[in-house]
Amino acid sequence: MTRATRRYSAVPRWVIVLAALGACFTLLPLVAMATRVNWGDFGALITSESSVDALLLSLRTSVSATVLCVVFGVPMALVLARTSFPGQRVLRALVLLPLVLPPVIGGIALLATFGRRGLLGHTFEVLGIQIAFSTTAVVIAQTFVALPFLVVSLEGALRVAGTRYEAVASTLGARPTTVLRRITLPLVLPALLSGAVLSFARALGEFGATLTFAGSLQGVTRTLPLEIYLQRETDPDAAVALSLVLVVVAVLVVGLTLRTGSVDAGLARRPRLAVVTPARETHSAADGS
């Protein structure tokens, strides 16, 4: 509504010029890549056996990693946002470390933990489980790098949501688990969804930690980014075609995040919307959309 009205904006022109340059810098390489695609063989290139293996493996492992991120990330965000204990600030910084760490270092760290000679590797070996260089290792590497995305986005949302609704729910007789299930999580659901989508995207694009910790075995640990890197040496056309597939997936993911983001903004906007179109609000609420 307000987007259509033309308001004076105090953004200087040179800022707009720089912003346009930045946008070009981001978009131009993608356009350039699209121009290099061999459209004639596109179908064959992305449906070769190794490509399909890599794509399916990537999707499978990324979904698993996203599930793990939700299972562990939600409790981590809750503990960081809702409790206070000594060393919490330090712990938060450390938990977010994989966000800024070069992924290859993450891979080396994971090898040191779960590798055959690693900290826990021996324990797992006794149990008959070998993790390094298996599909499990791919999931672990992806979870390791993607977890902070979910924790960061959810912790922020939890802080913004505040504790007042939770306090009211408690005084109405709700157990902590009931408060979590019926109040806290529904209130931060948009952030949880966008956090999960971001984690999925990060897992899908994981390269360094996977290569270091899981290796590159077709059908077992060779995910799409690894496949692309490998094909670049032998079949550049295939590499470009597969890259385009990942770009499309990434665009879809960003689109989804924006959608859930607008749900978030819609929640904040609702009171005003309600005044304007109460009937439509009721309708959409009844639809459950």
């Binding site: 007042r164 009211v168 109405l172 007789g173 157990r175 009171p271 009721t282």
Partner: protein, 361 residues
């Protein structure tokens, strides 16, 4: 019913309070008096440094302080002696000035939240919720979302939600403060109706709330109780300047003399008949409307006169309130013009003896 005695050092809070079964107590006090701290302690959202509270036979918390538990070395051994009941087990519902309806639930499910949390089935909880919505005259709002309600409607629903949880003690934190002047009276009437026979504590800075809801008034300031008593008593015969200010009365404090009283500032004021003994500490509450403002002319014979400097003139409906420090007089606007009164003028406030009724302090 409720017995409470607790201390929170960081907030300078130290207060003991009892509320009888079925009694509604109003807590009056300025901002920062510790009213919200009191409610947070009772509802379990805040922990006391020391003290205990019980609701009937249920211990809400029992926190022996360092001073009571003896030396530090002793108490360090067993910190587990402290008892503390989680908020959801206390049976204490809290209603704040903002409705805080859960935005993702319908009005009906908001009200049904308490019964659902108590383990009642969804159908039964919704039936209970409908009853309470009817009780607060909000049945037609059941299917709406909280974002589609006005402030007054939201607060009605919040009241229904609190009552539907069937609390043993209801805490109301300035329940009408955030509402339009237009809707507050209707809600005040409704609250008065549902509070009858309920054990409740109403925190407010609005004296009308106290008069409307409460059997008893507790006036507090800076975490302490200043005075307490039946609503009528406290507001009619305030013993503390803050209470007098809330009640809109001039408070004179001093010593009983043969003719009346000598104020703390040493001014002799004639008073109406009283059987209080000479020499004891007394107070008198005088309505601003009973105070005459004089510039030069002599007062009525026998009237007490206090020399004051006007600090402020404030229009109030059909009168102008002349403020002079802690004292005030309500006079007609024409009188202000006649006296040519402006802040900074030295004038005299005159009190007729019949309007000065003494009571012990």
């Amino acid at each position: 019913m409720l017995t409470f005695d607790a201390r929170v050092d960081a907030r300078g809070f130290d207060l003991a309070l009892d509320v009888a079964e079925g009694e509604t107590v109003a807590i009056l006090g300025p901002n920062g008096a510790g009213k919200s701290t009191l409610l947070s302690l009772i509802s379990g959202l805040l922990r006391a440094d020391e003290g205990s509270a019980a609701l009937g036979s249920t211990v809400l918390f029992d926190q022996p302080g360092a001073s009571r538990a003896g030396s530090r070395a002793e108490s360090r051994g067993r910190p587990g002696t402290a008892a503390w009941l989680a908020p959801h087990l206390r049976g204490v519902a809290l209603l704040s000035q903002e409705a805080l309806l859960f935005p993702h639930l319908s009005v009906l499910d908001n009200v049904a939240f308490g019964p659902r949390s108590a383990g009642v089935s969804t159908t039964a909880a919704r039936a209970t919720a409908r009853e309470w919505l009817a009780e607060v005259e909000a049945s037609d709002l059941a299917d709406r979302r909280p974002s589609q309600l006005s402030g007054g409607q939201a607060q009605r629903v919040a009241i229904a939600r609190a009552l539907a949880a069937n609390p043993r003690l209801l805490l109301l934190d300035e329940p009408l403060a955030a509402l339009d002047i237009a809707v507050a009276p209707a809600l005040r009437r409704m609250l008065r109706r549902v509070l009858v026979g309920r054990t409740a504590i109403v925190v407010t800075h609005e004296v009308l709330d106290a008069v409307t809801f409460a059997d008893r008034v507790v006036v507090m300031s800076r975490g302490q109780i200043l005075e307490q008593g039946t609503t009528h008593d406290v507001l009619e015969r305030p013993r503390h300047p803050f209470t007098a200010q809330l009640a809109g009365l001039n408070l004179l404090t001093g010593m009983r003399t043969a003719a009346g009283m000598r104020t703390d500032a040493g001014v002799e004021i004639a008073a109406g008949p009283s059987d209080l003994a000479e020499g004891i500490a007394v107070a008198a509450a005088v309505r601003p409307g009973a105070v005459a403002v004089l510039r030069d002319g002599s007062p009525e014979p026998g009237a007490g006169v206090i020399e004051v400097v006007v600090t402020d003139l404030e229009p109030r409906g059909d009168v102008v309130r002349v403020r002079a420090g802690e004292l005030s007089a309500d006079v007609p606007p024409a009188r202000i013009a006649q006296l040519d009164l402006v802040p900074g003028d030295s004038v005299r406030f005159a009190l007729r003896p019949d309007d000065v009724e003494l009571y012990a302090r």
